[in-house]
Subunit: 211 residues, 2 copies
């Protein structure tokens, strides 16, 4: 359904192509997505997409550019009591990924990372190497890099299960239930001492009281 009356090359057209590319990569992954499909979704000629973005690989990089500036994200999560950092991070990420603009970015990266080295590199660098190590550093504790990567691993697995595999009841669970379950896990990863039994999260406070 091509729209008419739009000037090719206008910033709005460029934004429409990028949104169409995010949707295509999120639905199909890098290998199966195509410039042709992106052009059809955006209602423009494939030649225009080529002209503005180059190859499918270049379009992928432009479309999947991570929309979050760590300089903004880190203070928002880090500010406040360290005891609440896990919940703030869980809430921040869940709100971000439930946003229809951002969700195709993480889904597109995950769907493409398994087969496309550029996508794998972006996912590695941005989800696992972005704001998370800084947060692990803010929260203190040894092995900050390892802990940050386990947070990233949980986030990737969560996105894969909820948005790609769409397993139920996880895919339909409401945000608060998810935040409630993820928050203590992030808190553990970001702040627990490595290898110390005494700092391991416990699900049995009753046992602790009876000691």
């Amino acid at each position: 359904m091509p729209r008419t009356g739009r000037r090719p090359g206008a910033p709005e057209t460029r934004g429409r192509v990028l949104a169409a590319a995010r949707a295509s990569f999120a639905d199909r992954g890098f290998d199966a997505a195509s410039i042709r499909d992106v052009a059809a979704r955006a209602g423009v000629d494939p030649a225009l997409v080529h002209h503005y973005f180059g190859s499918k690989q270049q379009l992928f990089v432009a479309a999947m550019e991570w929309p979050i500036d760590p300089a903004i994200a880190i203070p928002r999560v880090a500010a406040g009591d360290v005891a609440g950092i896990g919940e703030r991070l869980a809430r921040f990420v869940v709100e971000l990924w439930e946003d229809p603009t951002f969700q195709p970015v993480i889904v597109g990266l995950i769907r493409s990372a398994a087969s496309d080295p550029v996508a794998a590199s972006m996912l590695r660098g941005l989800v696992l190497g972005g704001p998370l190590p800084a947060l692990a550093g803010v929260a203190g504790g040894p092995d900050a890099a390892l802990r940050a990567e386990l947070v990233g691993a949980q986030l990737i697995g969560f996105a894969m299960a909820r948005y790609v595999l769409r397993v139920e009841p996880l895919a339909s669970a409401d945000r608060e239930a998810i935040v409630g379950l993820l928050a203590p896990v992030f808190q553990h990863y970001l702040t627990a001492s490595s290898g110390s039994e005494s700092s391991a999260p416990t699900a049995s406070p009753v046992r602790r009281q009876s000691a």
Copy 2:
């Protein structure tokens, strides 16, 4: 490097083709893997692979069949104190996935699930719908299905980060360090009460002592 002196169709040849298929799917994912590559790795003629296993999709299903019987896995993890179920599960899975026979199965499923619906269905059914819900049930607590899926999500994300993206230091971390970090998370997911602050894992026993 085709080997000679083997009878095509012998059980050993079949096993060699399946091992080659697991390695190919793990390295390349479903889309990029090929019968030709599998045949070359196994040292047999591609026609033989076709003859015994049919299509690439049928070969994938045969090669990726989950090697773990839930009837054996569940009692091994569930037996013993509920307070140790998270560590037993973490140890069981990490030992399994570090095994060179089994690692290509989970890596191949993850690499292929993003683009191949059959692979996605197998990953959904076997990692997220296999023994985990039964373990969540054994450990008690509400929302067993949701909790089991979050364990599965953490496992998928862990495998993706360690074996596919190979982020450091996670990719080189020793097993005990990983078990030590994953165990309390699994314990939380499998046994904590939903939405109850008192059962949330805590990383600050010092604060608790000072209360």
